[in-house]
């Protein structure tokens, strides 16, 4: 079995989840509590990766992260290295690909918090940032946990985006889904079957956890 591909997959999913929990929380707060003209356009833009084919996202990321793209160009001028075909490159791709799955459950959890609790926090002297950290986050743990599990699951299943942005470099960008694809291409069904089988209990256990969390938040 290609343990290296499984290792890269789990590493990528964990890093993506950690990064997205930090990035998505303020975005979800912004969408949940701020009203501004064009908010629905911004919201649709954030959820766009959910609706686009992964190859389309991959294509635009290649353009953006390639040596002539402004992100890839800046990176190359700073480090002298390419962003494409690196672990960092597929991490960026994975973060963008999964961002809707982090923002949406968090936003739902934030919206559910009674506004009077926030008002009480302001009365008690808390700034908006302190209220976010001391009141909103602790009262949205179910939504945040659901978001992190969804992002993790979505990340371990990513294929098209990662293949386009990262290729298939063992130990660097070759994730399990790509390893399965390559094994099947080479008619090695036993290797493909073993990696595929390892996904089922992981995904099933995490989905059970999401259901438990949803039941908990409804109770």
């Amino acid at each position: 079995m290609d343990y290296l591909a499984l290792y890269v997959t789990i590493k990528l999913a964990l890093v993506t989840t950690a990064v997205l929990m930090v990035i998505a929380a303020p975005i979800a707060y912004f969408l949940a509590y701020k009203h501004f003209p064009g908010k629905s356009f911004v919201e649709a833009l954030i959820y766009l990766p959910m609706a686009l084919p992964p190859t389309v996202i991959g294509f635009y990321l290649i353009i953006l992260m390639g040596p002539r793209g402004w992100v890839g160009g800046i990176w190359e001028s700073l480090t002298g290295e390419s962003l494409l075909f690196t672990f960092l490159g597929i991490t960026i791709a994975s973060v963008i690909y999964s961002i809707p799955f982090a923002v949406q459950p968090m936003k739902s959890a934030f919206v559910k918090i009674d506004r009077r609790l926030l008002e009480n926090a302001y009365i008690l002297g808390l700034s908006k940032r302190a209220t976010f950290l001391r009141v909103i986050i602790p009262n949205s743990l179910g939504g945040i946990a659901a978001a992190s599990i969804l992002v993790f699951l979505h990340s371990i299943g990513a294929f098209g985006v990662l293949l386009m942005v990262g290729g298939s470099i063992p130990g660097e960008t070759k994730v399990a889904s790509i390893a399965i694809y390559e094994a099947v291409e080479m008619m090695n069904y036993q290797a493909a079957g073993l990696i595929a089988l390892s996904f089922i209990p992981i995904s099933y256990a995490f989905l059970l956890l999401v259901n438990k969390l949803n039941e908990g938040s409804r109770a």
Binding site: N120, A121, Y122
Partner: protein, 237 residues
């Protein structure tokens, strides 16, 4: 210190247009029918709503002045505000709730003893009764050493017996506090029992005859406020 308020705010069914003063160690009770603008007034005092025009001062500090474009944030006013409910943070136990913004956490123990909820310190808000929750909410407000204490129908969701007990506790507390207290209620008995000064508010304006009219009118001939007279979908169904 005296809180001096004079402000106007346009609401959907009427305009709030009121002015009053309340001195330290005094309790002013805002009374009037439901939907008459009492809560809007207290929310403007707290800084949770902004008047359209007017002035609000606490001693020499200006909290709101429409002419000078001053509007102090609720965080800066150092208030105690007890809502009807939902004061407490569900993720914290009662002690941590009361100590949330306490000046000195040791005082919280004394407050809990004073309000007889010392044995419930470790309980979460959903594990205690409504009366105990409101006692804790009062402790939370007092632990901050407020310059002004606002109580917005704090006992209206409680049963009669609990309400009576808490009313007594508030009355005895009043003598120990040095800040002005503004108390909102629609219960005339409560107002008469607690108030040093009563300000009847009807449709957003002071109506000093309202209590007399309410006490002397025959049952069934009540005149609800304009806000309450408007047909509402929930009443239609």
């Amino acid at each position: 210190m005296t809180i001096s308020a004079a402000f106007r705010k346009k609401l959907k069914y009427f305009d709030v247009d009121i002015s009053f003063d309340c001195q330290s160690e005094k309790m002013m009770v805002l009374i009037g029918p439901s939907g008459g603008g009492k809560t809007t007034i207290i929310r403007m005092l707290a800084g949770l709503e902004t008047p359209d025009e007017g002035r609000l001062c606490f001693g020499n500090d200006i909290w709101f002045d429409s002419l000078r474009c001053v509007n102090l944030k609720p965080q800066k006013r150092r208030l105690g505000y007890v809502f009807q409910d939902y004061n407490l943070f569900p993720h914290l136990n009662l002690f941590d709730n009361a100590a949330f913004a306490a000046v000195d956490k040791k005082e919280v123990h004394a407050l809990f003893e004073l309000f007889r909820i010392d044995h419930l310190k470790k309980r979460k808000p959903h594990m205690v009764s409504g009366g105990e929750r409101q006692r804790c909410a009062i402790c939370q407000a007092l632990a901050r050493h407020p310059r002004l204490l606002l109580l917005d129908e704090p006992f209206s969701a409680l049963d009669v017996v609990t309400r009576r007990g808490l009313r007594e506790e508030i009355k005895s507390l009043k003598g120990r506090l040095s800040c002005p207290i503004i108390y909102v209620t629609h219960d005339i008995n409560e107002a008469l029992f607690l108030a040093d000064e009563i300000l009847p508010v009807v449709d957003g304006k002071a109506d000093y005859d309202w209590m007399q009219r309410t006490i002397t009118r025959e049952p069934g001939e009540g005149t609800p406020t304009r806000g309450a007279r408007e047909p509402r979908l929930s009443l239609v169904y």
